[in-house]
C-alpha cells in the first residue's frame, strides 16, 4: 500500500493542485473533515467540468451536508446532502471549501 501511495502522490496532479489551492486560501475542505462532521459549503475551488458537476450535484455555496463515510486507503468520501448520498474521490473533495458546523 505504501508503494501505491507514493505513486499516487506523484501521479495525482489534480489532487495536488486542488490541495495547494486550498492551502493557499488557508481553508478547510471536505477532505479535511472526519466521519460524522457537518459542514456548510463556502466555495468550490475546482474549476471547469469538475467544478460544474460538484455544484450541480448540490455542493453549492450555502448548502449543508455531513460526511457519512471516508473509505480507507484514501478512498472515496460519502456525503449526505439535500436528502441524498453523494460519493466523490478524496482528490475531488479537496476542491470544496467548507466551514465546520456544530451539528446541534
Amino acid at each position: 500500500m505504501k508503494h501505491l501511495g507514493r505513486r499516487r502522490r506523484r501521479r495525482g496532479g489534480d489532487e495536488q493542485c486542488n490541495r495547494r489551492r486550498a492551502e493557499l486560501a488557508g481553508t478547510l475542505t471536505v477532505a479535511d473533515l472526519s466521519e460524522g462532521e457537518v459542514f456548510e459549503v463556502r466555495r468550490v475551488l475546482a474549476e471547469g467540468e469538475l467544478g460544474r458537476r460538484l455544484v450541480e450535484m448540490g455542493l453549492s455555496p450555502g448548502a449543508r451536508g455531513a460526511v457519512a463515510r471516508m473509505a480507507p486507503f484514501r478512498g472515496p468520501v460519502q456525503i449526505d446532502l439535500l436528502g441524498y448520498s453523494l460519493s466523490l474521490r478524496r482528490s475531488e473533495a479537496y476542491g470544496v471549501v467548507v466551514e465546520r458546523i456544530d451539528p446541534s
Partner: protein, 689 residues
C-alpha cells in the same frame, strides 16, 4: 441505423411528450404506467442511445411518449445526458414531462430549471410523493408551479397515483406557449453577460440559420462545451467577437469560474423556491434503512467481503441457472440439424443448411440463456442500488489502474459476453474512460470461452486441481485488463481519469416487471447487434471449412484438411510453433473468430485420430493425439483467454467507437498480447515440467 421517420412525420393532432428526469426518479416506471404495453424502440438522429416510445389516448387526443435516458443536468456530461439533451433540442417535443423525485427535490429541480431556460413547455411530475410525505416533507405543488411557471402534479408511478391529472396537465400545456424564462432571476451579472453574449452572437454566423436565442447566449456564458463547439464550428474555430469577452467579464466580476458560479446561482433560485413551498413537519431521520445497510455494504472489511460474495454468487448463478436451457437449446438444434440432414440430398446444400445456417443460429440462440440470466441479475443489482456501492468499493483500486469505479459494471458483464459489456460502457461519463474500458473489456473471459477451458483443462489437469486452474485462467482476464489499462493511460491517453462524483441512490426493492423490461430491452439489443454478426460470421467460417468441396468419399477429417481453413492454419503454423501448437490448433483459433464456442467443434472434427475408438470423447482424443500435450494445452488456454474477440465484439466496437481504427487496434493488440502471454506460459511450462 438512424430513422427519423417516427418523429419527423408530424401530425398536428398528436402531442409528442419527452419524458426526462434525474436517474432514480422513477422515470421509467412512470413511463410504463403512462404508455402500457404499446412500445417500440428507435434510434433518432443525433441520439446514439435507443429511445423507447409508447402511445396513449387521452380524452380523444393521441399522445406519444419518448423515454429519455436519465440526466442530472443539461450540461451534458455522459453520453446518456448528451442523448437526452440532443433529443430535446433537435426533436423539439411539444411537451417535456420532467419526472422529479420529491424526496430529493432540490437536486431534481436543478434539471427542471435548465429545462425551463430552454423555453420548451414543461410539466413537472412530483413523483414518489408518498415517500416524501412519509419522511415528513410537505410540498405546495401549486405554489411551486407558480414560481417555476410550469404546472406541477403530484404522482406515485408505482401506484398509478396522479396519472389522470398528469395527462390533463400535459394536454393543456401542449396547447399553450411556454412562459418565457428570464435570465434576470440569476442576478444582474449573468443577465448582463448574457445580453453581451447575445449581441455578439447576433453579429456572427449562426449554426442553424435561425436568430440566436437567449438560451444559446446563456450556454455560451456558462462555458457549455456542446454549444460553444457549435458556434466555433461555423465561425472559423473561434467564438464570435465579444462572446468570450462577455464570459471573461462575468468571471472577473464575480471572482469565480463561470460554470461554477452559474450552477451556484441556479441553486440560489431553487433554495428560494423550496423555502417558500416546502414544509418539514418532522425532522429528518438520522438512521434511514439505507444508511443502516450501507454501514455493512460500505464497511471497510465487511463491505469488501460482501462485494466478493455477491459477485461470486452472480457468477455462479449465471452459469448454473443457464446450464439446463443452454443444453436444451443445443440438443434441440442438434436434432433439427439431423432432421434437415436426413431430408436434403445435395451434399453442399446439406452442409450449408446443417453446419452453416442451423449451426449459426443455434450458436447465437444457445448463448441467449446465459445473457438473460446475467442481465437479469445485473439489472436486479442495479435497480436495488447496489451497483453504485460496488463502484464505490472498486473505484479506489480501479482508479489507480487508470480505470473508473464505474468501469466495473461493464467489465463484470464481460464475464457473460463482451458485446453487452462494450455497450454497458456507455454509463461512463468521460469519452476517454469509456474508450479505455471498451478497449480492455475483450480481455475478460466471456461465457463462450468456458467450454474451451473446460475441455482442455479437463483433459490435461488432475481433477482435484482443475477448479484452481480454471480460477487462474479467469483471473488472467482482469489482471491483463488492469495492466493494459495502466499501459494505455501512460501512453495513449494521458491525464487524469474523470471525476467520481456519483449518486449513491437509496436502496429500493427491485420490481420483477421493471427488471424484465430492462432485460428485454438489453436482450433485444444483443440479438439485434450480435445475432446478425455472429450468424454471418458462422456462415463465413462454415464456407472456409467447407470449400473447396471434398471428394464424395472423403471423411470429415480429410475434407477439413484440404479446406481453406486448413490452408490458413498451415499459413499461420510457423507463428504457432513457438507456442507448441500445430496447424490444427491454428485452424481452431481462426474459427474462434466467428464465435468462441466454434473452437470446440472445430477441434472436435480435427482431432479425430483413426486409431482412437469411434465413440471416444473429444477429451480423450485430445489426450491421445500425439501433437497435443499438456504444454500445448497451457499455450492454447492462455491464447484463448486473451486473443482477439469474436467478430460480433469487433462489430460492436466499430458501432460504439464509430471508428475502424479502434477495431484494428483491438484486433492487433489482443493477438500480440495473447501470443506473448502464451509464449511465456509455454516457456515457463517447459522449464517446470
Amino acid at each position: 441505423m438512424a430513422s427519423s421517420s417516427n418523429v419527423s412525420t408530424r401530425r398536428s393532432d398528436v402531442v409528442r411528450v419527452a419524458v426526462a428526469g434525474n436517474p432514480n426518479s422513477g422515470k421509467t416506471t412512470l413511463f410504463n404506467v403512462l404508455t402500457g404495453a404499446r412500445l417500440k424502440t428507435g434510434n433518432y438522429p443525433g441520439v446514439t442511445v435507443d429511445v423507447t416510445s409508447g402511445e396513449r389516448r387521452h380524452k380523444g387526443g393521441e399522445l406519444v411518449f419518448y423515454d429519455l435516458p436519465g440526466a442530472y443536468s443539461l450540461s451534458a456530461y455522459s453520453i446518456d445526458e448528451l442523448a437526452a439533451r440532443r433529443f430535446i433540442l433537435e426533436e423539439k417535443p411539444d411537451v417535456v414531462l420532467n419526472v422529479i423525485d420529491s424526496a430529493n427535490l432540490e437536486r431534481n429541480l436543478y434539471y427542471t430549471l435548465q429545462l425551463r431556460e430552454l423555453d420548451v413547455p414543461v410539466v413537472g411530475a412530483l413523483n414518489m410523493i408518498d415517500e416524501a410525505e412519509e419522511a415528513g416533507v410537505e410540498i405546495d405543488a401549486e405554489r411551486l408551479g407558480e414560481i417555476l411557471r410550469t404546472p406541477m402534479v403530484k404522482t406515485v408511478g408505482s401506484k398509478r397515483r396522479g396519472v389522470e391529472e398528469l395527462l390533463d396537465a400535459i394536454v393543456e400545456t401542449a396547447r399553450k406557449d411556454a412562459f418565457r424564462w428570464t435570465p434576470s432571476v440569476y442576478g444582474v451579472e449573468i443577465e448582463r453577460a448574457a445580453e453581451r453574449a447575445l449581441a455578439a452572437l447576433g453579429k456572427a454566423t449562426t449554426p442553424d440559420e435561425t436568430a440566436p436565442t437567449t438560451w444559446a447566449a446563456l450556454k455560451i456564458v456558462e462555458r457549455d462545451k456542446d454549444e460553444t463547439a457549435k458556434w466555433r464550428a461555423v465561425n472559423e474555430g473561434e467564438l464570435p467577437d465579444g462572446a468570450t469577452e462577455a464570459v471573461e467579464w462575468l468571471e472577473r466580476h464575480v471572482g469565480e469560474s463561470a460554470p461554477v458560479y452559474f450552477a451556484g446561482q441556479r441553486y440560489g433560485v431553487i433554495r428560494g423556491a423550496v423555502r417558500e413551498t416546502v414544509r418539514r413537519v418532522k425532522p429528518p431521520e438520522r438512521k434511514t434503512p439505507t444508511s443502516r445497510i450501507d454501514a455493512f455494504a460500505l464497511h471497510p472489511v465487511f463491505g469488501v467481503v460482501g462485494f466478493l460474495v455477491v459477485m461470486a454468487a452472480v457468477f455462479y448463478a449465471t452459469f448454473t441457472l443457464s446450464e439446463p436451457p443452454v443444453a436444451w437449446l443445443e440438443r434441440g438444434f442438434a436434432a433439427l440439424g439431423e432432421f434437415a440432414a436426413s431430408r436434403i440430398d445435395d451434399p453442399t446444400l446439406r452442409s450449408f443448411v446443417v453446419d452453416g445456417a442451423i449451426g449459426g443460429v443455434g450458436g447465437v440462440l444457445s448463448f441467449a440463456p446465459i445473457i438473460v440470466v446475467l442481465f437479469l441479475l445485473v439489472t436486479l443489482l442495479e435497480e436495488s442500488g447496489y451497483m453504485a456501492r460496488a463502484a464505490f468499493i472498486m473505484d479506489n483500486v480501479f482508479h489507480r489502474f487508470g480505470l473508473h469505479g464505474q468501469s466495473f459494471i461493464p467489465l463484470f458483464i464481460g464475464f457473460g459476453c463482451t458485446v453487452p459489456a462494450i455497450m454497458a460502457a456507455r454509463t461512463l461519463k468521460s469519452p476517454t474512460d469509456r474508450l479505455v474500458t471498451i478497449l480492455v473489456s475483450p480481455l475478460i473471459s466471456c461465457g463462450a470461452r468456458l467450454p474451451i477451458y473446460a475441455l482442455i483443462v479437463g483433459a490435461f489437469s488432475p481433477p482435484e486441481y482443475s477448479w484452481a486452474i480454471l480460477l487462474g485462467v479467469y483471473a488472467l482476464g482482469p489482471i491483463a485488463a488492469m495492466g493494459t489499462a495502466l499501459l494505455f493511460r501512460a501512453t495513449l491517453f494521458r491525464g487524469e481519469t474523470s471525476p467520481f462524483v456519483m449518486e449513491l441512490p437509496p436502496y429500493r426493492k427491485p420490481t420483477m416487471s421493471g427488471a424484465m423490461w430492462h432485460v428485454g430491452r438489453r436482450l433485444w439489443r444483443f440479438l439485434k447487434n450480435a445475432g446478425t454478426v455472429i450468424f454471418a460470421a458462422s456462415i463465413l467460417v462454415w464456407a472456409l471449412t467447407a470449400f473447396p468441396r471434398p471428394a464424395a468419399d472423403a471423411t470429415a477429417r480429410e475434407a477439413l484438411e484440404q479446406s481453406y481453413a486448413a490452408q490458413m492454419g498451415e499459413a499461420i503454423a510457423p507463428a504457432m510453433a513457438p507456442l507448441g501448437l500445430d496447424w490444427k490448433a491454428g485452424v481452431a483459433l481462426v474459427s474462434g473468430l466467428a464465435a468462441k464456442e466454434i473452437v470446440v467443434s472445430t477441434m472436435g472434427v480435427l482431432y479425430h485420430a483413426e486409431e482412437a475408438a469411434p465413440d471416444a470423447t473429444l477429451r480423450e482424443r485430445l489426450r491421445d493425439d500425439g501433437s497435443f500435450d499438456a504444454l500445448s494445452a497451457i499455450s492454447l488456454v492462455v491464447f484463448v483467454a486473451l486473443y482477439v474477440p469474436c467478430f460480433a465484439t469487433l462489430a460492436t466496437i466499430r458501432r460504439e467507437t464509430g471508428s475502424w481504427k479502434w477495431v484494428a487496434f483491438v484486433a492487433g493488440y489482443t493477438v500480440a498480447l495473447a501470443w506473448i502471454a502464451a509464449f511465456l506460459a509455454h516457456r515457463l511450462g517447459v522449464a517446470l515440467l
